[in-house]
């Protein structure tokens, strides 16, 4: 019997397929990881913009996460920059919030990383360790148009990105958390406006508890049932402790101090609220519900968030709302806030176009870029001084946007050991969750957490 002609054809096709696959595989693995040294060349950029426009613009990529609305806004930002000069063309690469860490790390792993991007808690440790962030210091030194001192609270916003006198990224936005409150509901129950108490310095845990108890009492079928949802993530986890005068969860020499008496006092206070059901812990109602949802529906009195909820809450018409810092605990001397996480702008150390990337970077983190990004419908605070009006424009929707600006100056950013070691972070998150689920006594759980961190149990 003869071998079928079709079979021969099939063999040939398959062999070609396999060979081309093999070729594709082998062409990939010859990339050595030599880190490029950035040449301080800001001046060249200035000069060459004056030169006749080149045939083709330099193409830069930019990765940033966002929800669908935000993604439209970032596309507009890239276009705004591309249109205002004729040398650089910026392409925005969209990404969903949840997928960001995985996306950027795999992009680096497969050598198709974007030229510029945001780096957050999740990916920063790996990127710093593998030297993927371009050292910006040479540019900052020679570029007269960039002044690092024009940023608000710079030593906090750049905490992880300044080491050995070098700068690796700039935080172009800030999002300190505070409490949104349902003004109609609270004043309707006969209480003083929390913002007035804050101004008078009497906005304390005790006042908060009084309101919460009354809100809880007034709940019926259609009325609110909880004063507050303790959302199950690290921002709200830490805030009550910080509002009790805790400055950091680590000692000056880097040892964990989650069992500090002030922390334990704060946790004991929350546990009491959880037990009398004025606070509901978000994780104990399952996924798919957070404080934001219920606040919008008028079912809770307070919601904890940064400015990111303003665009959503703007749509509320059923009641009036406003913002106020977290109330002071017994040990606190001042109001405080917490910016949950780093979102800082960085340049890829492997980019082929360092000068162009810096030009885009400087615009992006500067006044023009921040105005473009955080102006209309902004969901965070600009970090460069002189743009306060952008936030104050919120006044059309709630009375005291100034509170954001006040709190920004004293906001604490995450501790380096927490943010830079995701495994340690998980231990901490689990311990707080254990307390909030009422499955561990605050003192002993926090003691255990500190000893677990010290003994390296996370690894």
């Amino acid at each position: 019997m003869k071998i079928n002609r079709k079979s021969i054809l099939a063999v040939v096709v398959t062999v070609i397929m396999v060979l081309s696959l093999l070729a594709a595989c082998s062409s990939q693995s010859n990339n050595t990881s030599g880190t490029t040294v950035a040449e301080p060349a800001a001046k060249t950029v200035e000069q060459s913009t004056a030169a006749p426009a080149p045939q083709k613009k330099v193409h830069l990529t930019w990765l940033y996460f966002g929800n669908p609305d935000e993604q439209k806004q970032w596309t507009a930002t890239a276009k705004a920059f591309t249109d205002m000069q004729d040398k650089i063309e910026v392409e925005y690469i969209p990404c969903a919030n949840d997928a960001y860490t995985q996306k950027i790390l795999t992009m680096f792993a497969s050598h198709d990383a974007p030229d510029t991007f945001y780096t957050r808690n999740g990916e920063t440790p790996t990127l710093l360790k593998e030297n993927k962030l371009l050292d910006l210091t040479p540019f900052i030194k020679v570029d007269p148009n960039f002044n690092i001192d024009s940023y608000v609270n710079i030593e906090q916003i750049n905490k992880p990105f300044m080491k050995d006198g070098k700068v690796f990224a700039i935080g172009d936005n800030d999002n300190p958390m505070l409490l949104y409150y349902n003004k109609t509901m609270i004043t309707g129950l006969g209480f003083q406006d929390p913002h007035d108490m804050y101004q008078a310095g009497t906005w304390t845990w005790d006042e908060w508890t009084k309101i919460a108890a009354k809100v809880k009492d007034s709940s019926t079928q259609s009325k609110p049932i909880y004063a507050f949802i303790q959302d199950a993530w690290f921002g709200p986890n830490f805030l009550w402790a910080l509002s009790n005068g805790v400055g950091s969860f680590y000692t000056a020499d880097g040892k964990p101090s989650y069992n500090d008496p002030k922390v334990v006092e704060a946790l004991n206070w929350i546990v009491k609220r959880l037990k009398d059901k004025t606070i509901l812990y978000g994780a104990s109602s399952g996924k798919g519900m957070d404080g934001g949802q219920l606040f919008q529906a008028g079912q809770i009195a307070f919601s904890s968030a940064g400015r990111w909820m303003v665009p959503t809450y703007k749509k509320i018409t059923a009641f009036k709302w406003d913002i106020v810092p977290f109330p002071k605990g017994p040990q606190a001397t001042q109001y405080i806030s917490y910016t949950p996480g780093y979102t800082s702008f960085a340049i890829n150390a492997e980019t082929k176009h360092t000068e162009e990337a810096w030009a885009w970077f400087r615009w992006f983190v500067g006044k023009d870029g921040q105005t473009q990004n955080w102006g209309k419908g902004g969901n965070c605070l600009p970090t460069i001084k002189g743009l306060e009006q952008l936030v104050l424009d919120d006044k059309a929707y709630y009375e005291h946007p100034q509170t954001f600006l006040d709190i920004q100056k004293v906001a604490i950013w995450p501790d380096i050991p927490y943010a830079m070691n995701s495994k340690e972070g998980k231990l901490v998150d689990d311990a707080f969750q254990k307390v909030f689920m009422l499955q561990g006594d605050p003192k002993s759980t926090m003691d255990q957490l500190c000893s677990d961190i010290t003994s390296g149990a996370a690894n």
Partner: protein, 280 residues
């Protein structure tokens, strides 16, 4: 005596129907709740006790869910991936099934148990290596990454079709063989038409499996432009924490195609499962 017995019998039968109907309600209720939530304002879903009957028909939710997210795009992606996998996979599995059922060749005794063994190994075990393989073949983050593995690797499909072909008498093969037909011709001219039912069953399994697959696109697709329907839906779950009505409308939109296919092809699904299960 007899009437007492039939009386008891009637009670038993009534009880049986009650249990069956309750079970049916349990099965259908989540679908009902999905539709109910999706056609009313989100605020109506925050009532205590919950409202069980439809009081409002806000079809606008569907329009909003469809427009607010690149749903059209995800549908096209899902369509491309499912169609491609169905076509290629049916071709390759039936070829392999034919060979295992009707041909004797060196290595059959090793290869067939190997195919059977891989049936047991879940994708969860191999997801990291498959991701690495896709990356090194430059297929990561492309629709091909979803198409290729399922198209050329489907052990249970090969097994199912082999069972069918084995059941067809050898005489067909032998007479064709005497006529001088090649194996490929015997495969497509004689066996393929005979296993049409099995092919349709398998086709529907593959369709449902690939259309609903969540884990594979989760690890192999990165860009929103390559998202398939389930992965888009999963992402949206995080985005619209504020609007339960919209996310349920989106879920309903995702469920509709597969339920339609199911309605029309129910018979084949049941036949396919029955045969694969009983002959295992």
């Amino acid at each position: 005596m007899k009437s007492a017995k039939s009386y008891l019998n009637n009670i038993a039968i009534t009880f049986k129907y009650i249990v069956i109907v309750i079970g049916t309600i349990v099965m259908v209720f989540p679908f009902y709740w999905m539709i109910l939530t999706s056609i009313r304002d989100a605020s109506l879903s925050y009532r205590i006790p919950p409202v069980f009957n439809p009081t409002q028909f806000k079809w606008q939710n569907y329009v909003e869910a469809w427009t607010a997210y690149p749903y059209g795009h995800a549908y096209i992606n899902s369509f491309i991936v499912t169609t491609a996998v169905v076509v290629f996979s049916l071709f390759t599995t039936s070829l392999a099934a034919f060979v295992f059922a009707k041909m004797d060749f060196a290595g059959k005794k090793i290869l067939f148990p190997m195919i059977l063994a891989t049936m047991m190994i879940p994708f969860q075990v191999t997801m990291v290596p498959v991701y690495l393989i896709m990356r090194s073949m430059h297929l990561y983050n492309s629709l091909l990454a979803l198409i290729i593995p399922s198209s050329i690797f489907n052990a249970s499909g090969v097994f199912l079709l082999r069972q069918f072909i084995k059941g067809i008498p050898n005489e067909y093969c032998e007479s064709a063989f005497i006529d001088g037909a090649g194996y490929f011709k015997i495969y497509y001219a004689i066996y393929l038409p005979l296993i049409k039912t099995a092919l349709i069953s398998l086709m529907i399994f593959i369709f449902i499996g690939v259309y609903n697959d969540f884990l594979m696109p989760l690890i192999l697709i990165r860009d929103i432009k390559f998202y398939t329907v389930p992965i888009l839906l999963a992402q949206m779950k995080g985005m619209w924490t504020t609007d339960i009505a919209l996310s349920d409308a989106a879920a309903a939109i995702a469920v509709i195609p597969v339920l339609l296919v199911y309605c029309f092809a129910q018979r084949y699904i049941i036949e396919g499962i029955t045969l694969s299960g009983l002959k295992a």
